[in-house]
């Protein structure tokens, strides 16, 4: 299966990458996605979304999903 991974803000800058296409065989959770593509342990305040909605790290991802990782939001 294939998963589109995106990073934002300070996380994007730290990892030096904006998006990754992940191809994988077995079932994965959001936490598995992080582990497979990021080269560091998850920061304690890390947030994640799946298909444009907040989710938690135990969420299973499906083929074609978009998974995003980002720090606390600071808009407004």
């Amino acid at each position: 299966m294939s998963v589109h991974v995106k990073y934002f803000a300070s996380l994007r800058q730290q990892l030096g990458v904006e998006s990754v296409e992940l191809a994988h065989r077995r079932d994965m959770t959001v936490a598995d996605v992080w582990q497979a593509v990021s080269r560091q342990p998850p920061p304690c305040n890390l947030l994640c979304a799946c298909n444009l909605q907040y989710t938690d790290f135990k969420q299973a991802v499906a083929d074609g999903d978009e998974v995003a990782f980002f720090p606390p939001v600071t808009g407004g």
Binding site: L52, V73, G75
Partner: protein, 144 residues
């Protein structure tokens, strides 16, 4: 209901006024509550000369629409206007406008504040500030 992410500076009070004239029936509303957030030239003890506002395209628009629809429904609003800036900002430029029209002031006030707090705590925007020592990501929003 108008919701927009703006790449260029906007004039919040003029946008509000124009939206009201064009979309609200005269005499239909008893109150409009609005909040404008704008860029200060000083934050966390340092002068700020520039700010970059990044967003998660697609997710953010969806969040703003959802929080506005939620407020429309919960407070029986007549209309909502929500504008949020992205890109490169200079001090004093508006960042966000949230406005709510209702029959009475309590609904307008509560809706405006709820939308603002919801946006601040959930909407996928991030600020980076330029200060004398370089650039820094804003770590967290001021409590509401």
């Amino acid at each position: 209901m108008r919701i927009e992410i703006c790449r260029q500076p906007f004039a919040p009070w003029r946008e509000l006024s124009q939206h009201q004239d064009q979309h609200l029936a005269a005499g239909s509303f008893g109150a409009c509550a609005a909040l404008v957030g704008s860029m200060r030239d000083f934050n966390c003890g340092e002068a700020v000369t520039r700010m970059t506002l990044e967003h998660y395209a697609g997710m953010t628009e969806r969040q703003l629409r959802q929080l506005a629809e939620q407020a429309m429904h919960q407070y029986a609003l007549l209309d909502v206007l929500l504008l949020h800036r992205i890109g490169e900002l200079r001090p004093s430029e508006p960042i966000v406008l949230v406005a709510a029209w209702a029959a009475h002031r309590a609904a307008a006030f509560n809706a405006c504040r709820d939308m603002m707090e919801s946006l601040k705590s959930r909407a996928t925007f991030w600020k980076k500030e330029s200060v004398a020592s370089g650039e820094r990501w804003v770590q967290a929003n001021t409590p509401g």
